[in-house]
């Protein structure tokens, strides 16, 4: 492998095997490398978000932003693919084990040997995802979240109330990118290989479909959307394997391509028939909202409540 020798032998097979043996022998190193890796992934994600937000937030037309972000993603992919010094180039870095790979030495044989470390790691991922969800919910139901919604609905109005719109947009892009960096690091440790070719725009597209399926600006809807699309993804893989035993002539690629086509159709149907997604955006639960419980008393407008009036009034839009 040409790139491996040029860089210093972190890309070749012997390096991959030695990584695996180190992960098996030293639990402390294995876990601490994982933690450091996650931290750096979040940092790198945040920096990427900050860099891309510079041009993206300076464009005037709305759709330029999506194009700048597409350009940013593709730039990163092309740079990583063509620079073997970063991530071993096109072939990527293999032999990344889960942080609990060393547990397999306690189970000498049987299915548990592979399942226990992976299962434990999957549980850690679920826990972190839950943490991210709670964090996102906290943001959404805080004054900062209401500020975000106000900027989304009317940028000029938010600006007229002396809100620093571009700063807030930059902040939220960094927060989102940090989360995405975390997700990427967790994913790489799970599948065990990091190649730039995994992160094509079709992946971004899947995430859009998840988001819109659940409903714009709706974290709980996002959970449902993610679940549905992930089920579609996994289901297509499983059904592809199952179908192959019945239909010998079936082209396995068709299942993969068909999945992407189904996602596109779902998105188009949603955009045409149900733009708000499965769960439309709801009110933000402010303190006043939960105190007075406006659901029982429909006539009372949130803005009539004493004390917290202006905040809830702004939150009701949506």
């Amino acid at each position: 492998m040409l790139s491996g020798t040029a860089v210093g032998n972190i890309c070749n097979v012997s390096a991959m095997l030695s990584r695996e043996s180190i992960a098996l022998a030293y639990p402390a190193i294995s876990v601490s490398v994982w933690v450091i890796g996650l931290a750096f992934a979040m940092l790198a994600g945040g920096i990427m978000g900050l860099v891309v937000s510079y041009p993206a937030l300076r464009v005037k037309e709305e759709w330029f932003l999506s194009m700048i972000l597409l350009v940013g993603g593709e730039t990163f992919r092309i740079v990583v693919t063509n620079t073997p010094q970063i991530g071993c180039g096109f072939n990527g870095l293999a032999g990344i084990t889960t942080p609990f790979y060393w547990l397999s030495s306690y189970f000498p044989s049987g299915p548990l040997q592979a399942e226990v470390p992976t299962g434990l790691y999957a549980a850690v991922i679920v826990a972190l995802a839950l943490g991210c969800f709670v964090f996102a919910q906290k943001i959404c139901n805080s004054p900062y979240g209401r500020l975000l919604k106000s900027i989304r609905d009317d940028k000029v109005a938010a600006e007229s109330l002396a809100k620093d719109v571009s700063r807030v947009r930059k902040q939220i892009m960094v927060i989102g990118s940090v989360m995405a960096g975390l997700a990427g690091a967790l994913y790489v440790y799970y599948i065990g290989v990091a190649t730039p070719e995994d992160y094509i725009p079709a992946l971004t597209f899947s995430i859009w479909v998840m988001m819109i399926l659940g409903g714009f600006a709706n974290n709980r809807g996002l959970l449902v959307g993610t679940f549905v699309i992930t089920m579609l993804d996994r289901g297509s893989l499983v059904s592809g394997i199952l179908l192959q035993s019945y239909l010998a002539n079936l082209n396995p690629n068709l299942i993969v391509y068909g999945r992407y086509m189904v996602e596109a159709v779902i998105l188009l149907l949603l955009l045409v028939f149900r733009q708000k997604g499965i769960f439309p955006e709801t009110r933000i639960k402010t303190k006043a909202y939960t105190l007075f419980d406006f659901k029982k008393n429909n006539n009372a407008e949130p803005s009539n409540s004493p004390g917290e009036g202006p905040q809830t009034g702004g939150a009701a839009s949506g």
């Binding site: 464009v59 350009v71 859009w208 086509m261």
Partner: protein, 323 residues
Amino acid sequence: MLEWLAGSILLSLFNGSIYVVVSLGLTLTLAVVKLPNFAHAEFLTIGGYVGVIVSSAYPDNLLVIGAAAFLFCAAIALAVHRVAFKPLMDRKVSIYILVLASFAVAQFIRYGVFSWASVAGVLSATQNIKVYSLATLYNTELTNVYALAIVLAILISVLLELFLKLTTMGKSMRAIASNFDLARISGINVPRVVDVMWIIAGGLGGLGGMVFGIYTTVTPVLGFNTLLDIFAVVIIAGLTSFTGTIIGGYIVGFSQNTLMDFLHYYFDVSFGYQPLLPFALIIIILLLKPTGLAPSSQTGLSLIRRFARRSSSNPKEPEPPKE
């Protein structure tokens, strides 16, 4: 010295001509229906594959192959408009939704082509069109593909200009582009004009793809790989300017080939970074002038005048007007 230069310039002209043919369709879409169609590049793929199929039946018959590519892509574009974009536009959705929808259409077409090509065993195919040398200049062969692309770009530009300036349909198209409501009030049959617009836009995409497919191998990602290049062209053009599109096409063509060769031979930059050059153009243009270069201008001359005005009215360095 510079033995690569002649070939590089010729390749730039060829690539630029393809970009001009394809981007003129996108400029038309942006001007008339104000839609940044991210599915436009997929017409290139379809055109390439139509070329593959038809050229196996009619080898070297450029007229038949070109007409087939144009008509098939026009039909696809019309279908896409009727099925996906028209229902959305009738509801007056935001441009953000339209961009998402165009991404969905692009994804559907791309993986549809992937599925078909995978079953038919043509994931990587070539067109059955003979490439031969017409002349040799400075050790560089001017093949019929290069000549075809350059002639086609000139022909399409002239024909489109004449169509927009002289025919009633072209005039109505321009009227819709400048003011949609006013055009409707004046009794222009807007749906029909928009249909014709889609036919031209899709057809030009297919035609460009077919010519590009003679030069290169046709794959299902042929169009997607040029998507951002085409958008670089229209952003340089300021989205709706046809003269700007012609200039922008050649700017992107030259940056991708001649500038890339220059960087490769003098600064040892790998050819793998070639796609980054149009990206850099997009970012630079959008940073210097976030609304695009000339959003309202129709001619290259007014673009130059605009820049002259901007530079002379710069508040930081007041310069006396040159008279």
